[in-house]
C-alpha cells in the first residue's frame, strides 16, 4: 500500500470520527493536521477513536496492524503527532511486516 493510499485511508477515518466530536475538536484532512500533543484538537478519547477507525480500515484492506500498542507508545517520537507522522508509522509497520 503506497503513502497516498494510506493517507486516504486516514482521511476516511477522520470522516468517520469527526461527526462524533464536539465541533471545536474536529480535525482537517491534511498531512499537517496535528493529532495529539501541544496545540492539537483531539483529546485522548478522540485520538483512540481515530486510531481504531484507521485500524479497522486497514483490516478491511487485509492488513492486520496494531497501531496503538506498546511499540507505538515507546517510539522515541510519538507516531501520533500529525496525520503525516501517523502515515509514516503505518508505512513503516507495513514494510516491517513484509520483511518479517
Amino acid at each position: 500500500m503506497d503513502r497516498s493510499a494510506i493517507l486516504n485511508l486516514i482521511y476516511a477515518a477522520i470522516d468517520e470520527v469527526n461527526p462524533t466530536l464536539p465541533p471545536d475538536r474536529r480535525i482537517d484532512k491534511s498531512p499537517e493536521t496535528q493529532l495529539f500533543g501541544r496545540g492539537s484538537r483531539l483529546d485522548s478519547l478522540g485520538l483512540v477513536n481515530l486510531v481504531v477507525a484507521t485500524e479497522a480500515r486497514l483490516a478491511e484492506s487485509g492488513l492486520a496492524v496494531a497501531l496503538a500498542d506498546e511499540r507505538a507508545m515507546s517510539q522515541k517520537q510519538s507516531p501520533f503527532r500529525t496525520v503525516e507522522t501517523l502515515c509514516d508509522y503505518i508505512a513503516l509497520t507495513l514494510q516491517e511486516g513484509e520483511l518479517g
Binding site: P19, A53, A68
Partner: protein
C-alpha cells in the same frame, strides 16, 4: 425428615397435575408414589445415607422424584444436565467427590451406579455432622472456572415451606441451575404444575405455553429479546400467561417496553437469585420499572461501595474450590453494582464487567440499551478491551437485521450514541457478527 412437609402437600393435591412432560400429565399422586418407590430402591441398592450422588438429568417426572427421594435419604445431590460434555461431567464428579451416579435417559428411565471413592471435603463433613442432605450446584460463569456451590438442602427447602400461588409454570431454566431448582420446588411446593418445555427455542417455549395453558414463565432477558426478534408472540395464543419472571442479568429497558406493549395483560416480575444464596423474593416498583425491592423473609441486604451484599439464612455453606466470598460478619458479596433509591435497587451490572475508560466507569448494559434502539440492530453486546492509551476502550459487537456496510454502520452507531451518551461511553470499536451472542442457557456473553 426435611421433605415431609412436601410429601404431605403432594398427598393433599391428589390427582391434580404435578408435571407435564412430553405432552403427558403426571399427577401429585403419581409423584408421591414415585418418590416412595425411589426411596425404597435407593435403600435396597445400598446407597449410604449422606452419599454424594450425581443426578444426571434434564427436567422429567423421575428427575423430580429422584431429587426429592435422594434428599429424603439424606444424600448430597449434585444435579447435572446430560448436555454438558463428558469431560465436564468427569470434572464435576471429581470436584463433587461423587460416590454414586444416577443417569436418567430421554425415556425417563433411571439407572443407579456406584462410582467408588469417598467424600472428604470439610463442607461434606459439616453436612454429615448436621444430619442434613446437601445440594451442590456448579456455577458455570460465562468467564472463568466452574465453582462448586455447597448448600444445606434442608435449610434451602425452608424457603418453600410457606405455600404461594399455585401456577402452571414453564420449566425453562435448567435442572442443574439454582433458577431451575427454584422453579421446580416453588411450583411443586405450592401445588402448581411444572410444564417441561423440551424445545427451548422461542417458538417451542411459546407453543408449550399455549398448549398447556401456562400462567408463569420464568426466563432470562436474553431469551425474551430473542422472542421479540423471532416475532413468535404473534404466532401463539398466550392468553393463559399471567406473569413473566426474569432474572440472571439486567433487563434492557427497550426489551421491557416492547414486551409490555405486545403483552399488555402480563405482569413482569424481576427476581434476584444467585447460586450462592438462593432466590430472593423481589417486588418491582411497577411492571415497567427496573427498580426492585429485594429480600423477604430470611434475607437482609446492604450496599457497600456500590456493591450489593446479602445476608441469608439459606446461604450456601461455601465453595468446594474457591475462597469464601463472605465478609467476616457473614455477608455475601454479590459483585452486582446497584443504584439505590429508598428501599429500591436498580442493577447496573456485574462489577467484573464494568469498563474503566481512563478512570471513568462504563456499565455495558447502559450502552447496550442505547445501541439497541438504533435501526437495524437485532442484538448488541458491549464489553471492554485493553488499550495502552486509555487503559480500556468500549467495544460493541452487534448482530444486524439486514446486512449493512461496516464503515457506514459504525459511523451511524457512533453518532447515535454520541447524541445520547457521554463521550467515554460511546463504543470505539464496532464489530458486526452473524453468530448468536448468548450461551446455550440464554445468558449474554460479554467476552472480547
Amino acid at each position: 425428615m426435611p421433605i415431609d412437609f412436601l410429601l404431605e402437600r403432594f398427598a393433599a393435591c391428589g390427582d391434580a397435575d404435578a408435571i407435564v412432560w412430553n405432552d403427558r400429565a403426571y399427577s401429585y399422586r403419581w409423584l408421591l408414589n414415585r418418590i416412595r418407590h425411589w426411596r425404597h430402591h435407593i435403600a435396597e441398592t445400598g446407597v449410604p445415607e449422606h452419599a454424594n450422588v450425581a443426578l444426571v438429568a434434564d427436567f422429567s417426572p423421575n428427575a423430580a422424584a429422584l431429587l426429592l427421594a435422594l434428599a429424603g435419604h439424606g444424600c448430597v445431590v449434585l444435579p447435572m444436565t446430560p448436555a454438558i460434555s463428558e469431560s465436564k461431567q468427569e470434572e464435576y464428579l471429581a470436584l463433587g467427590e461423587c460416590t454414586w451416579r444416577v443417569r436418567i435417559g430421554a425415556d425417563d428411565e433411571a439407572g443407579l451406579e456406584a462410582l467408588g471413592g469417598e467424600s472428604r471435603h470439610e463442607l461434606f463433613g459439616m453436612l454429615k455432622a448436621s444430619g442434613h442432605p446437601g445440594l451442590v450446584l456448579f456455577s458455570s460463569g460465562s468467564t472463568g472456572k466452574s465453582k462448586g456451590v455447597v448448600h444445606d438442602f434442608e435449610q434451602l427447602l425452608e424457603n418453600y415451606r410457606k405455600p404461594r400461588a399455585a401456577l402452571r409454570t414453564i420449566a425453562f431454566l435448567l435442572f442443574d441451575h439454582i433458577g431451575g431448582i427454584n422453579t421446580m420446588l416453588h411450583t411443586l411446593a405450592s401445588g402448581g404444575c411444572l410444564i417441561v418445555a423440551d424445545d427451548r427455542s422461542p417458538d417451542g417455549v411459546l407453543d408449550a405455553i399455549a398448549r398447556h395453558r401456562a400462567e408463569l414463565l420464568p426466563t432470562s432477558p436474553t431469551f425474551l429479546n430473542l422472542v421479540l426478534l423471532s416475532d413468535a408472540i404473534r404466532r401463539h395464543d398466550l392468553s393463559s400467561l399471567k406473569v413473566i419472571a426474569y432474572a440472571t442479568e439486567p433487563m434492557p429497558e427497550t426489551t421491557l417496553a416492547r414486551l409490555r406493549e405486545l403483552l399488555p395483560g402480563v405482569r413482569f416480575h424481576q427476581n434476584y437469585g444467585l447460586s450462592e444464596v438462593g432466590i430472593l423474593r423481589s417486588k418491582s416498583e411497577s411492571s415497567d420499572s427496573l427498580w426492585v425491592q429485594v429480600g423477604g423473609e430470611g434475607y437482609e441486604t446492604r450496599v457497600v461501595d456500590g456493591v450489593l451484599q446479602i445476608k441469608a439464612q439459606s446461604a450456601m455453606l461455601g465453595y468446594l474450590n474457591a475462597p469464601s466470598p463472605f465478609t467476616e460478619d457473614g455477608w455475601f458479596v454479590t459483585g452486582d453494582v446497584v443504584e439505590r433509591k429508598g428501599d429500591y435497587f436498580r442493577f447496573l451490572g456485574r462489577q467484573s464487567e464494568l469498563i474503566n475508560v481512563g478512570g471513568e466507569k462504563v456499565y455495558p448494559a447502559e450502552v447496550e440499551n442505547v445501541v439497541r434502539t438504533l435501526e437495524n440492530v437485532a442484538e448488541a453486546v458491549v464489553y471492554g478491551e485493553k488499550n495502552p492509551i486509555l487503559g480500556n476502550i468500549v467495544c460493541a459487537r452487534v448482530t444486524l437485521v439486514e446486512p449493512e456496510d461496516r464503515a457506514a454502520f459504525t459511523a451511524r452507531l457512533k453518532q447515535h450514541c454520541a447524541a445520547v451518551l457521554k463521550r467515554h461511553q460511546v463504543p470505539v470499536k464496532v464489530e458486526i457478527t452473524a453468530g448468536p451472542q448468548h450461551t446455550d442457557r440464554f445468558k449474554k456473553v460479554r467476552i472480547p
